[in-house]
Amino acid sequence: MLTRRMLSIAAGGLAAAAGFPAGLASAQDARPDLARLKPAGFPSQPMEMTVVYPAGGGADLTARLLARTMEQISGDRILVNNRTGGAGMVGHAWLATQAPADGHVMGMLVNLVWGDAMLRAQGRWNYTDLEPIGYINSDPMIWAVTTDGPFKDMPLARIAEAAKEKPNTFRVATVPGSMWDYLIEQVEQNTGARFLKVPFQSGGAGTTALIGNNVDIAPAFFAELRPHIASGRVRLAAIAAAQRVRHLPDLPTFNEALGGTGYEWTLIRFVVVPKNVPADRKAYLSALVRQAMRDGALVEEYTKMGVHFDPALRDAADPAAALNAEAEKEREFYRRTGRLR
């Protein structure tokens, strides 16, 4: 149970026990540092952690676990608030243009915010209106197939070949205008495969369609696939990450499987504050997020949810710069593919 484990870890204190790299300070060591960074009189009221997706989803759970740990470390009150609508557009715009920039509002965002800012915000706001203050975790996209479908035992390269020999026959679930689409498009362009792209409103709906044999391939994330892998219904074909991930050592990357590069599509979760938050408050919040992410219990909770910690982002000296570099990579993709001029 959550509580008991948290208590035991707070008492015995071991981040390393949860498989977190040694050498990082445990929660207690850095607390004086955090106290030193805490601006006088801040926070003067409970803080809000905005989530732009509905309660109960992956982003929401990530935020609630984080807020809880941050509360425990700092003693500050942090409330998770779901500002939903327009597949995240409403909440993103609120954070970028209307949220108070006094440090009392943070946003727990997913990198889908970049596509919103670059393709759909129509100049009303930009992703640079939101300053990253800490990296949380990543979820690389995975292609899953059923164990009794046409691709039951095929490696990804064979799947692509089959879809080239019989174009527009095999069905793949997609979410229009998003990384689901982009990854399929890359595979098609580089291998000559042609899929029937069946649109769904969310990745979860695509997974359900896969289980029900209404599509042959579903791009999805590990957490939603795991129960169906366990039941033997679903097999994973490849993961769209730069390297193989620790929790799925036998799953090849798209780059390996197709002998290419650039098949990298990952949900990245991170915390932002609105632009113009005073520097001392931003530094404090950033240190608080970083401290929370060193908490063994939190890392274990996230690990159980089946996410991946990208060392390049986790260990970056300047997480804001590292995340913004990822955003620029995405902008480059939009330019190259003619989505953005």
């Binding site: 759970l61 676990l65 327009g86 597949a87 069946v198 366990a230």
Partner: protein, 498 residues
């Protein structure tokens, strides 16, 4: 583990003071948020989710689930008393429930809603206990083509519901369809009719629309009519349903339970569609279809049973497959995940204590809700004695709070007020909202599933005939259309002035 030993285990787990108290708390909170217009189960669950972090997994889920089905009990209360749906799923209850209240029969309406909900809730938990794994597989067979056929059937059956002018009914259906096209196109991701505002990218939310159209316009109409009188000036009459009420309500309750459970299983179904289709079914089967809409008790018994049964049905794919059909069930799954429990096909095998604990709690919860709601009927009926000038500011305030709490977006309040004014005009010209609402709810699913089906089909529209479930649903729809065309006066009460 067979169902009997499973249930035994479940009751052993649930019959502890802590679990019983949490089940009771969930039932009370659920009833309350069901009664309060605007505040739905989703907002309440999101608010209480953090509380469950510190509880053992069974206890947390038991409480959240009780809120979910409790809301369906409470939802009918304001529909009947104030013509203002407490939940979107209780929209259709307004039609006959409110008319009954105006005739001094609010008590029987509330009573039959509570008892119907209890019977439906219990029957659906029985079905959940004994057939969950089989039924989970059935739910999976509903891919895009099946969903489309189901939506067609739903839409056709609502044609039976059109009261008054057929032409006006068809206008409302068309408007519902048109309004539902606002938002992001699911096939190509483009924005439609958003006029450059971010607030419309997700389309118009059903909650502010329903609260505005029903609640706010009702307030406007009443305030205009007479501020000084209470709602029911004459008599309140008996509180409990009569023997005759029972006789006519029993079959609607049973049919509503079956229909609601089946529709609850399917991702595209859910409590709202179930309530509407049950109403249409009862009207179709009734020897006196013309009485529907004028305060007939079958029009309350059927839909209120159906929306409760749909909650039980909705738990089947959640517990047997880990697949949520509605945002509320998605939140229940989230609560499990945060406890470190993986919902999915193996949930029953790996966590029999949790599975059967939740199922057992639903039997107990339904019993709590019946015991809680029957005495409340007398209390609620007294509410009608409160002069309207004191009542309406409170109702208005609750509507505003409830509507805002769902998305925390002030735009929703403008939508609510806008539709309040539109509803006020429509009432003056005697347009019925029900066809509009059902078209608005069905249209996005219908469009999406039609286009998905055509994309995944290798031979165009023939996909609808190749798949057995789809073919049967469409055939039934065709028969219904034929009935309407052949005998319009018999099947569209009051119709014929087209």
């Amino acid at each position: 583990m067979d169902a009997f030993s499973g249930l035994l285990l479940g009751f052993q787990i649930i019959l502890t003071p802590q679990n019983l108290i949490l089940c009771l708390v969930g039932s009370v909170v659920g009833t309350l948020i069901g009664v309060l217009p605007g505040i739905g189960p989703l907002a309440a669950l999101a608010l209480l989710l953090p509380v469950t972090f510190t509880l053992p997994p069974v206890a947390g889920i038991v409480m959240l689930a009780a809120i979910f089905y409790g809301a369906m009990y409470g939802g009918s209360t304001t529909s009947i008393l104030l013509n203002m749906p407490g939940e979107a799923a209780s929209v259709v209850t307004c039609r006959d429930g409110y008319q009954m209240a105006r005739q001094g029969r609010a008590g029987p309406a509330l009573g039959i809603a509570a008892i119907g909900s209890f019977i439906a809730g219990t029957l659906s938990v029985l079905a959940l206990s004994f057939f969950a794994p089989v039924l989970g597989g059935f739910a999976l067979r509903f891919g895009p083509p099946e969903n489309f056929a189901l939506m067609v059937l739903g839409l056709i059956s609502t044609l039976f519901m059109i009261s008054g002018s057929t032409l006006k009914g068809l206008i409302m259906i068309t408007l519902g369809f048109l309004l539902a096209t606002i938002g992001i196109d699911v096939v190509n991701g483009q924005e439609r009719f958003t006029f450059g505002t971010i607030n419309l990218t997700g389309g118009i939310d059903i909650l502010p629309l329903v609260i505005g159209l029903y609640g706010i316009s009702e307030i406007l109409t009443n305030v205009e009519r007479a501020m000084s009188t209470s709602l029911v000036t004459s008599r309140i009459g008996s509180v409990f349903p009569t023997r005759a009420d029972w006789r006519v309500s029993l079959m609607p309750i049973l049919r509503g339970s079956g229909l609601g459970f089946l529709l609850g299983l399917i991702p595209g179904g859910g409590p709202i569609t179930a309530a509407f289709m049950s109403y249409a079914l009862e009207q179709r089967l009734s020897p006196h279809p013309e009485r529907f809409g004028t305060g007939t008790i079958e029009g309350v018994a059927g839909p209120e049973s159906a929306n409760n049964a749909a909650v039980g049905g909705g738990m089947v794919p959640v517990l047997s497959l880990g697949i949520p059909g509605t945002p509320v069930t998605a939140l229940l799954l989230g609560a499990l995940v945060i406890q470190g429990i993986q919902p999915g096909p193996l949930f029953m095998v790996n966590h029999p204590d949790l599975f059967w604990g939740i199922v057992a709690s639903m039997y107990i919860g339904n019993l709590f809700l019946l015991i809680l709601n029957l005495p409340l009927v007398g209390l609620w009926v007294q509410l009608l004695r409160v002069p309207y000038r004191y009542l309406f500011p409170v109702v208005l305030l609750l509507s505003v709070v409830g509507t805002y709490s769902a998305n925390k977006n002030t735009f929703d309040l403008w939508v609510m007020l806008g539709f309040g004014v539109i509803g006020w005009f429509l009432r003056k010209f005697e347009y019925d909202f029900a066809p509009f609402i059902i078209a608005f709810i069905l249209a996005p699913l219908m469009e999406q599933s039609l286009r998905q089906a055509l994309v995944m089909s290798r031979d165009g529209p023939m996909i609808f005939l190749h798949r057995p479930i789809t073919a049967v649903l469409l055939a039934v729809s065709a028969v219904l259309v034929a009935l309407i065309v052949v005998k319009p006066r018999r099947f569209i009460p009051g119709g014929g002035d087209v």
